[in-house]
Every structure is written in C-alpha cells, then in structure tokens.
C-alpha cells in the first residue's frame, strides 16, 4: 500500500496512453455490466420465485387447462398449506402493440403470492367488484390509468358472452406494487377475478390454467408433487407439479440460451481487452527500463519491482473496470425509466460486481505477468547501459 503513489505516478506517466487504455477497459466492463444485467433479468424468474410455492399445470401442454374439480382434491393433499389458481388471459389495450400480461386470478392469490403488495381497501374493493381489476403501478403509469377507470381490453383467446367478441372491460379498483423493487416486472400485470372470467367467457370450460400451491415444508416438495400428480394419474388431465423456480426457468430456457450468447460476446470482448492492455503494459515497462533499473539501484528488491508492475496492471484494469460497471449501474435505471416501464433492467447486482471484480483482477494479473517478470529479471548494469 505504501507504494500506491509510486504505482499511480507510473500509471499516469503517459497520460494519453493511460487514459485511452482506461477508456477501452471502461467500455468493456460497461458492456459486461449491461449484458450480465440482461442475463440476470432472464433468470430472475428463477431466483425471485417463492421457495414454498409449486406450480401444478397440465403435463401435456401449456395450452391445456385443468378441471376446476381438481382444486378441492389438491387442497386436501397433506402438506398443502394454501392454494390459488389463475388463468392466462393476454390480450392488448387499444393497439395490438400494447400486449398485456392480463391474468384471471382465483381467491387467495395475494395470500399465496406475498410478493404483491395491495392496500387493504383496494383488496376489499376487488373482492366486492365482480368486474374489478388490480393493476400494477408500472403498468398504470405507462397508460395513465387511475382507480375508477374503465379499461377496455381486447382478449387474446376468450370471447365474452356479453359482447359476442373478444372485447372485455374491467373496472380498475386498485393498484399493487412489487414488494421487492427488483421484481418490478410483476407490476406489468392486470389482474382480474377468475370467477367473473369463468362465468363470462363463452367457452364454459370451467378450467383453470394452473394451480399454485403453497407447501408447509419446502423440503417435502418432491413428495407433495408426487402426491398431487397421483390424483390425476391416468386421467385426461394429468398434471405436472414443479417448484415455481423450475417452472419459471423453463420459459427462460425456451426463449434461447441467453447465458451462452452473453458468455460468447464477453469472451470476445475480454480476449480483445487482454491483448490491448497487455500491449499497453508491455510498452509501459519497455519505456521505463532505465527507471526500473534506477529503482533497483537505490535498493528496491526484485520482488518489490515485480509487485510494482503487477500492481500497475491490476490498478489500470480495476480503475477502468469499476468506472465501467459504475456507469452500467447508473445507466440501467435510466434505460428502464426512459422506456416508460416497458423494459425493466435490474440494477447491477452484487453477483455482477463480484464476477466483474474477479475478472478485473484476473485480467490484471494475466497482462501484468510478462512485463512484471521482465522487470524483475532486469540486470541493473545492462538496463542502465541501454543494452
């Protein structure tokens, strides 16, 4: 540490070169911060999932519903503390571009999904209004909806008995927020009552899209899943019960291997960075050979000189890298805000910082190695003579 000012001085000996290199490092880690944020956002469904929740859905296909009659039997399964159900509704508001995450929800939904924060009076209004809807704050801000508004929704699949086509109208009776700001994604939904949906849609199927159960002991998950699936075994409506995490991740997986794409891009970026900073460091040491020799002459040990060069390399990368990640951290909320809530990028998380810092030190050590060894092995006589 006591040599920090010496390393600092060496680093900024050639200002232009150091600043340009720093900017390259900064760009690389800015990209790393943004891309890793995207990767995290894709896997967020898995991480944010409630550990005590499991999803029961059709074993055959995402588009198959489950009969309502299954609900009491699943409720009676030992280990099931609470359950709720829902049906995906989809659709759009006024323009097909405004696709919505509209979901019909069963009773108890907010007891099972504690991630949603609803004011008690809003919840009461929801329970007493058949056509009521609760809207996420982000979604409400995006479309300027207020409590008391009537929201027209063109449904994706289900025709409305009353209108004869797929147009539906809901009364906004309240708003909800995400308990954890990281989960702002869920504030994009419009939730309305399943009993109204079941009665008013023209299919008369009395089916639910999926059932969410809350288990009393997450360690018993696999036993409970087996017991629940046994209820419908060999019927027309066999179920598949899995943890919410597994259920959410299966969607992210189907969209594509985002992790692989991100790693491939970052591989190319860091390889380039390695070469670029390696070259800078080699140049820096080559120029300073007489100086390093002088240092040795006045008593710096070989080891200390090695450490100085290593320190310089690591400081260069960490300085640029931390700046880059910092900019990424500042940029993410700006992008989210500028998109009006349509894009939700998470803040740069602790994992991203940890991975980033580890990569910075690793690159620093790698690019510092050759120049540092060279500096250590310098023979004072040769170096001072310029040989």
């Amino acid at each position: 540490m006591k040599y920090l000012h010496l390393i600092w001085a060496a680093l900024f000996r050639r200002k232009t070169r150091t600043v340009l290199t720093l900017l390259s490092v900064l760009a690389a880690f800015l990209l790393f911060g943004l891309l890793d944020g995207v990767r995290v956002a894709f896997n967020a469904g898995g991480e944010a999932a409630g550990v005590d929740r499991m999803i029961v859905s059709s074993r055959f296909s995402i588009i198959q519903g489950l009969p309502q009659s299954l609900i009491p039997r699943i409720q009676a399964t030992p280990g099931v503390k609470n359950l709720t159900w829902a049906n995906w509704f989809g659709g759009y508001y006024t323009d097909p571009k405004n696709q919505g995450f509209n979901i019909a929800i069963g009773p108890n939904f907010f007891d099972v999904y504690s991630d949603y924060v609803v004011a008690p009076e809003h919840r009461q209004a929801f329970e007493s209004t058949r056509t009521g809807a609760l809207v996420g704050r982000t979604l409400a801000n995006r479309f300027g909806w207020k409590v008391g508004d009537k929201v027209p929704v063109t449904g994706a699949i289900y025709p409305n008995k009353a209108t004869g086509d797929t147009s539906w109208t809901f009364d906004v009776v309240g708003l909800y927020e995400a308990r954890d700001p990281k989960q702002r994604g869920i504030e994009q939904q419009l939730l309305f009552r399943w009993d109204y949906f079941d009665e008013a849609n023209a299919y008369d199927a009395h089916e639910v899209g999926w059932i969410t159960i809350q288990v009393s002991d997450p360690n018993q998950s696999s036993e409970i899943a087996r017991a629940v699936d046994a209820i419908s075994a060999n019927s027309d409506h066999e179920t598949k019960t899995q943890t919410e995490q597994a259920f959410n991740l299966s969607f992210a997986k189907q969209l594509g291997d985002i992790g692989l794409i991100v790693s491939a891009i970052m591989g190319a970026v860091f390889f380039t960075l390695l070469l670029l900073t390696g070259n800078t460091m080699a140049q820096a040491v080559r120029e300073r050979i007489p100086e390093l020799a002088t240092l040795k002459t006045i008593g710096f040990s070989d080891r200390t000189v090695l450490g100085l060069v290593f320190g310089e390399a690591v400081l260069l990368i960490v300085l640029g890298g931390v700046l880059g990640l910092g900019i990424a951290a500042a940029l993410m909320p700006i992008v989210s805000a500028a998109s009006g809530g349509a894009v939700q990028l998470p803040a740069v998380g602790a994992t991203t910082w940890a991975i980033g810092l580890a990569v910075m030190v690793l690159i620093g050590v790698l690019v510092g190695a050759l120049p540092a060894l060279r500096a250590m092995r310098l023979k004072i006589v040769d170096a001072l003579a310029g040989r």
Partner: protein, 435 residues
C-alpha cells in the same frame, strides 16, 4: 482558443465523414476510392503519400504486437456485430419465406396469432365458398382449415420439456403449400394417429425419428415421415386436422389458409368476407402474417446487436488511437526527416490514415470471416408467436459482411484521424532534436 477551434473542426469533420459513410451508397464510395487511387498514381502529393504509406506498411512487422491490437480489436467488434445481425436476419428470413402474397390466412377478428384464434366448422365452410379462391383439377377450392396445438416434448439441447407446435392440416394443404415435401418415410394417413415431423423439429427435439411413437395429450401417435419446407413450418409436426381435433377434443378450427387465383384477388376475397354478416374474421396474406410475427423480435435483436457492437467499437477505437499515437511517436523522427527533405503534410496525414484503415480492413475481414465460418447456417430455436419453438438458421449474407467491413473501416477512420493529424502537424525541428 485556436486549439479549441481546431478540436471542434476535427470533431465536426469526424462526424460528417461518419455520417457520409453511413448515408452514401456503395457506388459513390467506390468512386471516391478510385479518385484516391488516381490521386496517388498521378499527382506529386499522391505519389509522396503512396511512398510514405509504403514505408509505414513495410515496417508493420516490427510493430506486430501493437498493430495486432487494432486488427484483433476490430475483428471482435465485427464478429459480434455480424453474428448478432445474422441471427436477426435468419429469423426474419425464415418467417418471411413462410408466407407469400398468393396465400391468405383467415383468423377470428382481432386475433394476432393462430393460437389465440378460433373458427367454427360453419365458418370454415363459408370461407371455402368465397370468391377469389383457386380451385384444383376436380374443382374443389384450395383451402386448408387448420388447428394448432402445443405439446411438451424434451428438447435435445437442454433435456427439459419445451413447446412444439402440432398443426392439424386439411387434405388440400399439400396443394396449398407445394414446398412441403416428404423426404423420409411417407405422409400421414387421414383418420390415423400419424404425424410427419419437420426437419427442424426433428433436429431440436428428442424422439422424433420416423417409426418412433410420441405421446400427445396422453395418446400414442406414430411418426411416419419427415418433411422439408425451408421455412418456419419445418419446426412443426403435421397431422390430419380432424384427427388432431378429436384427440384434443376441439370442436372447430383456428385458422383457414386459402390459395388465391392471383395476388390481385385478395381484395375480392376480403370484401366477400367482410360482406358476410355470419363471419367475424380478419384475412391477411401469409406474407404479412409471418412478417408481423418476426418484426418485434427481429427489431429487438437488431437494436441489441448494434448497441453491443457500438460499445465494443468505442473500446476498439480507443485501442486503435493508442496504437497509432504510439506508432506516430516512434516514427516521429522519420516523419520529421521526410518533412525536412520536402515531403508535405497532406501526404503524411494520408499515409497514417491509410495504414490504420488497412489494419482495420484486415480486422474487419478477419471478424466477418470468423463469423461466417462459425455462424452461417448455425441452427437455433426460440419461442415464436404460437408459444412454441421456431427453428431458424443464422443467415450471414454478403450484405452483412459488407456492413461489418464498413463498420471496421469507420472505426479505423476515427482511430487514425487524430494520430494522422498529429503526425502532419509535427514541428520538424523539435521532432528532429528529440531522441
């Protein structure tokens, strides 16, 4: 003040040339290049520039490490750019080629995808009687009422269940889509639980070999053949519409696709649909329908790709600046000597620019070449509009390679301009004196 104005002018020049580079058509850029060559061949300044450039290029080997920073840095940018854009283009090409202007898909009014649409059997009968539909040799209209369902099958790459699209097609579907050809086994027999699988679906999912049995909605279906169509249908499993419909206990269809007598018949057909009060449907050419499906995702991929490449390009540009500043600094004495014996500044400027652009070009070609070698026809799949996997191939087209090279040259231009200006303005006496 003077240096500030000069900086401002340089910045304006940079932005202007970048803008010109993006806007100008290829032939004009080619013409500019020819003018440059003529200048170098026939004027005194030009010949000086050529000579200085040659000295720079021939000493590149001595600065191998530093020069490779430019080449590899730019190769990285171009490689990532070309690969990501090829992904977007591949998806768009696959979906676009699925549609044409002679076939029309009829969906329930307001539906944006087949999965969210629904038509009754009566609707399908009515649609088949509309004017403008091509008839086959026996005089039957070429209409295929279809049903799309989604099934869970394990994907080869992850081993976990993913959604596969199962399409029930009517007997006229083969005349409707002549590009669908059975390449292995045979077509399914209507009335039997038989399927033909697309080549893409077979490559992505487990257990879709001809002769295999698959479980759809708890019923056993046999795979009897494999088909090829070169479009998005290759991601699907095809079966007889009535058999699929009974297996999934569906009363009606989801869409009806018809072949028109000619693209111009669209208006007649649409007007007839609109005039019938019994029908509440939308008709779109399949080209419009499938293009709209790819639009959003293609746009997203393109924006993300360009944003990533732009950030990388900024990094690479600083790398190039660094290298070229260092190159100018090492050659300061040599450049000053040239100036002292009568070489003028513009040739020196041009030579540094040319050297950088040459390295950038090398990097661009390297990056584009690597992207082409690895990713052309690379097969992947994603979730499509029907909530099921759409298999598509990366499409590294010559146009994309040219885009990559253009980016490389632009980075080289900016990275070379400032060092070139410094080289041109080098005060001769000081540079000669300094060691």
């Amino acid at each position: 003040m003077k240096s500030f104005l000069r900086g401002l002018a340089t910045l304006a020049l940079m932005l202007l040339s970048l803008l010109a580079w993006i806007m100008l058509p290829g032939w004009l850029l080619g013409a500019l290049f020819v003018v440059l060559l003529l200048w170098m061949a026939f004027t005194r300044g030009g010949r000086q520039a050529a000579a200085v450039t040659w000295i720079g290029v021939s000493t590149l080997a001595q600065r191998l490490g530093a020069s490779s920073v430019i080449v590899v840095g730019i190769a990285g940018v171009v490689g990532v750019l070309v690969a990501l854009l090829a992904m977007g283009d591949g998806l768009q090409k696959t979906l676009r080629s699925t549609g044409d202007t002679e076939t029309v898909i009829v969906l329930r009014g307001g539906a944006t995808a087949e999965l969210s649409s629904g038509l009754s059997r009566e609707d399908a009968t009515l649609i088949a009687q509309m004017p403008g539909i091509l008839r086959d040799a026996e005089g039957k209209p070429i209409v295929s009422p279809e049903l799309v369902v989604v099934a869970n099958l394990p994907k080869k790459s992850t081993g976990t269940d993913a959604n596969v699209e199962v399409r029930g097609i009517g007997p006229q579907a083969w005349a409707l889509r002549p590009n669908v050809k059975i390449v292995e086994g045979s077509a399914f027999t209507p009335g039997l639980r038989e399927m033909v699988v697309g080549r893409g679906a077979r490559a992505q999912f487990e257990g879709l070999e001809p002769g295999a049995t698959i479980n759809l909605n708890n019923q056993q279906w046999s795979v009897v053949g494999v088909f090829e169509s070169g479009d998005a249908h290759e991601s699907e499993l095809l079966g007889d519409v009535d058999t699929v419909s009974s297996a999934y206990r569906r009363g009606g269809y989801q869409s009806a696709t018809v072949r028109l007598t000619a693209p111009e018949a669209l208006d007649t057909f649409k007007a007839a649909l609109a005039a019938d009060p019994r029908l509440k449907v939308d008709a779109k050419t399949t080209l419009d329908y499938y293009t709209a499906q790819s639009e959003q995702l293609t746009k997203t991929i393109r924006i993300v790709g360009i944003a990533i490449a732009a950030i990388m390009a900024i990094g690479a540009m600083f790398g190039a600046l660094n290298t070229m500043y260092a190159a100018v600094a090492t050659r300061a004495r040599e450049i000053a000597t040239l100036r002292a014996i009568g070489f003028r500044s513009p040739p020196v400027l041009v030579s540094v620019m040319l050297e950088t652009m040459l390295l950038a070009l090398l990097g661009g070609l390297l990056g584009a070449g690597i992207a082409w070698a690895i990713f052309d026809n690379y097969t992947v799949s994603t979730l499509g509009a029907n909530f099921s996997q759409v298999v598509f191939r990366f499409n590294v087209s010559p146009a994309l390679l040219w885009t990559g090279v253009k980016w490389a040259l632009a980075i080289g231009f900016i990275g070379g301009l400032l060092p070139a200006l410094r080289a041109a303005r080098l005060p001769v006496t000081t540079a000669l004196r300094e060691s």
